[in-house]
Symmetry: none
Subunit: 129 residues, 4 copies
């Protein structure tokens, strides 16, 4: 799997890393049960510190995307039925300001939903459900 980290971005590296791995799962490139590289390995590959990778892995673990197995390291978790109310609430909280902005800038509902549907399908096409 290819991880593109932008060192000039104002988004922290460990957040980018987390997002890229989630995107990898969404695209179906990382499948349930698959092992992620060790923190040391990945840190070396990307050219960053192992603590930064570690932080990303821990966030992914806390959010249920991966499991930390004592024998095998980090494993992709099952991605079924995890959209509980708590997740949806946080999603709304995060997405809300973006929608307010889009509305102010004059985007219509149709335009917005079209954009989002496109992004969604860029993921759903790669994965059988």
């Amino acid at each position: 799997m290819f991880l593109a980290i932008d060192f000039q971005s104002d988004i922290p590296i460990y957040i980018q890393l987390k997002q890229q791995i989630i995107a990898g799962i969404a695209r179906g490139e990382l499948k349930e049960g698959e092992e992620l590289p060790s923190v040391r390995q990945l840190a070396q590959d990307i050219g960053i510190n192992l603590h930064t990778v570690n932080k990303a892995y821990n966030l992914l673990k806390d959010d249920g995307f991966i499991l930390m197995d004592r024998r095998k390291g980090a494993l992709i978790n099952s991605l079924e039925n995890m959209a509980d109310e708590d997740f949806k609430f946080r999603l709304r909280e995060e997405i809300n300001p973006l929608i307010a902005q889009a509305f102010c800038k004059g985007m219509t509902e149709e335009e917005l939903l079209l954009e989002i549907g496109e992004i969604y399908r860029s993921y759903s096409q790669g994965v059988k459900r």
Copy 2:
């Protein structure tokens, strides 16, 4: 207008302030040409630092949501046709990871668009277009 700042949030106060003001515009509570409180006034009302309010105002100015007038202070700008390609690009960049996450957690496209449409209409209802 009511500004709800969460001092425990991991979102910086000046960003929250910016988002809340945009939401106010989106809800139609702040109309074109209307004056925002002075930096000093707002800082005192909320109980935060001058610089923090200043930063938020400057961001809003940079994004075209307000105009800074030497005599009248900050004025709400017109909200027409500002969704240029650059804005849409940044919107996609920001919304993309959220959608990947929603997809991984098992949300269907319908569910997602329904949620977003609801949020959108919570704004569009208050404003005549």
Copy 3:
């Protein structure tokens, strides 16, 4: 408040720190809304690294014992009605092996409950409820 860290203990420093602060709250020495020292300050006082203090604070935040206020730093949170089912489940998980051990070693239920009641009251005496 006095924090006694045992550097020889096999319990990690940040865990000891977390436990000591919880004990401080339980004894009523740290009251709701009170400010904790900054990570740098406390780290210097105890003679440890600020990252170690930071880790303890973050755990306390995750467990709801403190709030991280953007203006005031770390604040003791309200300690009302936080014993939800999730907490009780984790408590049982952690306490279970200790009880199994006590049972195997021949402690009677009375003996055990007496010990625990004593510890509990060592906390409840200092706080009005």
Copy 4:
């Protein structure tokens, strides 16, 4: 006897193993003089490293729960009157932070003792004393 090891737990496998065996003794499933599986056998059954089982057995031996016999392997020891002052001291040390936490979260003494009594009796019912 059924040993449920959680490879995702933050508790080391050898500690889990120790706890599970003690729980087995407490439930009366493992009786005095009974033989435990050989280190090799158990390691293979659970799918873990030899060293890990070895470590657990050695801890159990140190704590007096089993005897290591050169010919018969590991034998369950008698569980009489082993709750010396040293054990009680360590028990208090370990259980204290949990109680402080429960107190902070608002559990009453009655609630706590009820929970603990329940766990205790889940063991004492299976064993004649």
